[in-house]
Symmetry: C3
Subunit: 499 residues, 3 copies
């Protein structure tokens, strides 16, 4: 990268009704050079950046902010970055030797994929928190778990039908990248270089990156780091506003396996958000309950630093995401205490399987947080609730939620016991995979879709249709009946065959 | 409660961009005392209220408004309430002897749960209308109907699997409160008192209320009244804007059993709302067609007082909800004329069952509104339509809707006849319950989910995907085939067994 | 129609907060006469129009605009229309002899249904493009295809159950009009006249139009033209803003058969739209990437004229809709190259069936666009993508999409081969219809709902839940297992019967 001599640019940004505001900002010479070409070839990227906070304030100015309003958490920022705004070159030329995809681009050492380890230059605390986030390990937590791999295989595999049998062939990387690993993150790998004929600058050489594009939460980057800040802080706006709105979380949390957005949108909180959010302030740091917003979004409860109207801190910011959550309510046969460590592939239940519970619902306690930690997390979460609800409301809500965890676990136990019956009769094969026969999928529906939807409705909405008729208890109870009906039919058939 | 001596407070409310507007309002001494502590302990509640109309205008000022713009419908309001804004104490200390949960709170007689009978102090007409609303009776309509109780039991019951059989144990109150009764409303009961150590004021005593929290439409309150105004006018903003937007209705009307919001959002009306509502006026009373909004929301057609641009009344406000509706299109095997009375648990069909139709589709006419009443309701509804549609459009729409009622009733009759065949063969047991076997649930899907979705799509959207491929006729016709397929398989099995 | 003498009216329109802006506009005498009565009888219609661009600018002024900002594409507009705004009479009295529904209304020759051939008076290019749009032929493409008619029949038919058999009777026009033809468009026919007693003007005569109301994209109009501009440009606002927002497309593209809106709303693009669109400019023509919007809506990629910030054209406007699309990914057993002609009912596969592929997945190539045309369309689409994404991102995305087409086609081939096995065994009847038995519907689910949802998730979202757990590969693979399970059970039953 060339030198970072500061040049003053007039940045014109268009807001709302089309009013133009011009401000003078110091842009590095290197970034100015990027913008020179890219403002024409990639106007979407350049404009997004121009409207971002990164284009409007230098790290030095940002570091001068004191107390809870401060956004730059790093105690020090390299001298050469302090007095220019955070432009293209500032991120895409950072730590060139660390990135396998660094390449020469008009005499600059550019890397395509900016990683959390780049972002930590200014946002050290968030990066450190995020590394403890189970999401940071989302790639390995799926790819390194043999049982999850079997489920993945049964869903993604290519199929061929021959002699009355469906044969499966492992899915290729293209399929994997746009399915499970779209959200979990792909593993990026440098595969070589290619020359492309560009309109702006003729022939140029670029790296070929396997797994690209991707912005999954647990992406394995080309510097070895895990995660992608742009999963939520969409490039190149890096918008706190967008990350605080529930649509960002919806990208990965909307299907029947994780119906958080659907449940939220139909809850009282979601109603208030939908009806009133156009008058809220999504940019304020810290975020003041009652003043900046009047109902929580996903970020309010799970991520943001909140203060009350007397400027007292209600909860600290976290990018660990699950540290206000005692229970993990999705994805597995039974709800259970959260894993202690973000790498869940190391967990073994009493039968040696990589699962946080056994098939009878027992916890693999040594890998899970203990009651004290659960209690602390509950209290942190409830500190948020208590700004708008009195303690009888909050404790009443929580009692029902815990009841629902117990009750849904009992129902998936019933489902599992019927399934065990079927496996023992030999009418389905447990050994090869738990998920590759029609009746096994009816069983996995019960916990992967219905029990978890019920729990989300309980946790986030205090009830409502997603707990009853919309992938809720109606569907869960029906599935139990259907499992039994299927088993009963095989019994009848067996008895008919014996006659 | 202490005296109500007026003190003048400066109320600062933050709007939109963060601009602060300060106004002087007379707040009662008692409410000022509440705010003293609660603005710190419950900033969300206090801020919501400060931004509400209740915090900005006294009943006396509100009563001075003449004609259709008037919001306070009571002819008289107690003297002591007239000259202070409607603050905490004004509602939470009203009628202390009527409320079982009244308790001493810093020398004030406070009750936790404000009821419609409190609200009627100023809003008498709305309260009176709402008492005729079928929603006001939503608790008893479910809890006191033996057939509905069987459906509820089959959905909510706890399960245990033993010897190839699923055993059911009645669901507990916690489960009931966050499922059916989340929307229908719980029955609140005072269970005693508990002492809690509060941060602000040390040890205090509070009532323990069974069924709390809840804001269901038919909640049985601690003064014996039925309903919860905050179901739609969310506490403590009491916002007409929010109640007029469809997200409020969505809270209970989004699942496949009552897919009103989903159908609306995909309709032409919903499209216009979604695209254009940011420029509409949701606060105006009366609400002027064409000027304040250009497409209806739920409230427009079912609740609001509407005027045209010449200030003529198009329809009167109603909180009865169904008095613009001739047909009840959901929840039961067949669409039918609306019940005469809000208490539907008294209805008996010709077979003595608490249903508005018999299993062959015949109406329990003596409990349902007659043709003249249906005709009147149709006309009231169409008075709304005719502001934007000519009469050929409106009558064309209505003819299709009536055809759809007839046609979907015929299809659920087919489903019921197949089910009767199955019951008669003894392959399912009609006597114990209609809903606790897999095949019975396939039958209930046909009318509880598909026939009603089709009718909503017809009524609210004039058609579209929810009438065809999204829980519509594709799914309904498929279910008929599946019922038949199931029956056919049992016949084959029986015949195989006999050989 | 009476003369068109211009009269100057003061048009008061209410915007946003209720501010009134008064402007003088020349309204024709005829339109002024319409407004006289209709502003009271149809305030919704008149107000919508008053807020529209049609009410604010004359064709002459609109034609004076040069270059890409021009909205009137016709080179000439009749003299008598040039100097008045586009009011009621200007459209509803155009070409009176061409319209079968023209009738005398207060001495004006009015027609109810305004058609694309009326709109082309000013918007000739758009009308011409739209005539090549497959949507323009949506009526005939469904009504004139014998195989589609069988699917339609199996879904819509009225049912009667007798002797263990479901009998089907063809659906009537009312049902058809609010189902398939709600979106596809009805065939309008003049059925006579009726006298109605109107409040404003006593007895008046009006035409009776079969198939009315309707605003489907392929409506057959009373002047013989095909299509309905108001399908997207909702009457009488004719709003470009509304057509550019995704809610308009949602009206027909939301169900599991065409889940475009659902997939979009959960995509990164949809997230950005939902979070940020309140600050975008949806009215600007041309539409500038990065300045007017920062993420695409449906219209951006498929319809709109786009320029970059240097005012260079990125893509030309099109109303053909599919001319940026090489592949057709929905509605049929296999994804395939787009049909050459908008009339798809003429297509025949190698077996003589009106399908673009045969049952083994082979293309009816002579009716489909060739590779060169596909390549051109891909490039046009990617010209949009490249404003915000570099070419490695875009080509990476595209490779995955093509992989998904291949892979999903292979899976629906597996489903079809199992189904063929079932048909050959005689356990379902292929000859009468492919869709009227339970197991056939399980087969049609695989391609009508799941394979296409997966492709939409790939094309529009680069992946995500709609490709996996929400009508995606989980459901597709499960359906293959269930087809096999059903077949296997029949084999067992047959074997049991033979003993």
């Amino acid at each position: 990268m060339k030198n970072m001599a500061v040049i003053i640019c007039i940045l014109t940004s268009f807001v709302g009704g089309g009013t133009a505001i011009s401000v003078e900002v110091p842009i590095s010479e290197a970034s100015a050079e990027c913008i020179d070409c890219h403002s024409a070839t990639h106007p979407g990227i350049v404009n997004d950046w121009q409207n971002s906070r990164h284009a409007k304030i230098t790290p030095k100015e940002a570091m001068a902010v004191e107390g809870v309003a401060r956004k730059v958490s790093s105690k020090t920022v390299p001298e050469n970055l302090q007095n220019v705004v955070v432009g293209c070159a500032e991120c895409h030329t950072l730590r060139p030797k660390a990135h396998a995809d660094t390449f020469d681009h008009n005499e600059n050492n550019i890397h395509v994929v900016v990683s959390p380890d780049d972002c930590k230059t200014c946002h050290a605390t968030e990066r450190q928190q995020y590394s403890k986030n189970i999401m940071a390990h989302a790639y390995g937590n799926l790819a390194d778990n043999k049982l999850y791999q079997k489920l993945e295989h049964s869903i993604l595999a290519e199929t061929k039908y021959k002699n009355g049998k469906i044969n499966l062939k492992p899915a290729n990387d293209a399929t994997k990248s746009e399915t499970c690993y779209y959200c979990h993150g792909t593993k990026l790998e440098l595969k070589g270089y290619e020359t492309r004929d560009t309109e702006a600058a003729g022939e140029l050489e670029f790296p070929i990156i396997k797994g690209w594009p991707n912005q999954g939460v647990g992406r394995i980057n080309l510097d070895g780091s895990m995660g992608s800040c742009s999963a939520c802080h969409t490039r190149h706006a890096f918008s706190i506003e967008m990350a605080r709105k529930p649509y960002t979380c919806k990208e990965c949390h909307v299907g029947p396996d994780v119906p958080a957005f659907k449940v939220y949108a139909a809850s009282k909180h979601g109603n208030i958000f939908s009806a009133m959010n156009s008058s809220w302030n999504f940019k304020a740091v810290p975020w003041t309950v009652g003043k900046d917003f009047t109902a929580p979004t996903c970020a309010t409860c799970h991520v943001s630093l909140l203060v009350n109207t007397e400027e007292e801190v209600v909860v600290e910011r976290t990018h660990q995401m699950n540290n206000r959550l005692p229970w993990r309510i999705l994805g597995l046969i039974y709800a259970h205490a959260h894993p202690q460590k973000p790498n869940t592939s190391i967990i073994r239940n009493k039968d040696g399987l990589p699962l946080p519970t056994d098939f009878s619902g027992g916890f693999a306690t040594q890998y899970l947080i203990d009651k004290k930690e659960m209690e602390g997390r509950r209290q942190t979460m409830q500190a948020v609730c208590l700004n708008c609800h009195d303690s009888s409301w909050v404790s009443g809500h929580w009692k029902r939620f815990k009841n629902t965890i117990r009750e849904t676990n009992a129902k998936t136990l019933t489902a599992t016991q019927i399934m065990e019956d079927i496996w023992q009769h030999g009418w389905a094969d447990k050994k090869d995979s738990f998920y590759n026969e029609a009746i096994e999928r009816k069983w996995s529906d019960t916990w992967l879709f219905y029990a978890n939807t019920i729990r989300f409705a309980s946790a986030m909405g205090s009830g409502g249709d997603y707990g009853v008729f919309s992938d809720g208890r109606y569907q869960l109870s029906k599935s139990l009946m259907e499992l039994n009906d299927w088993l009963d039919l095989r019994k009848q058939l067996e008895s008919a065959s014996k006659k």
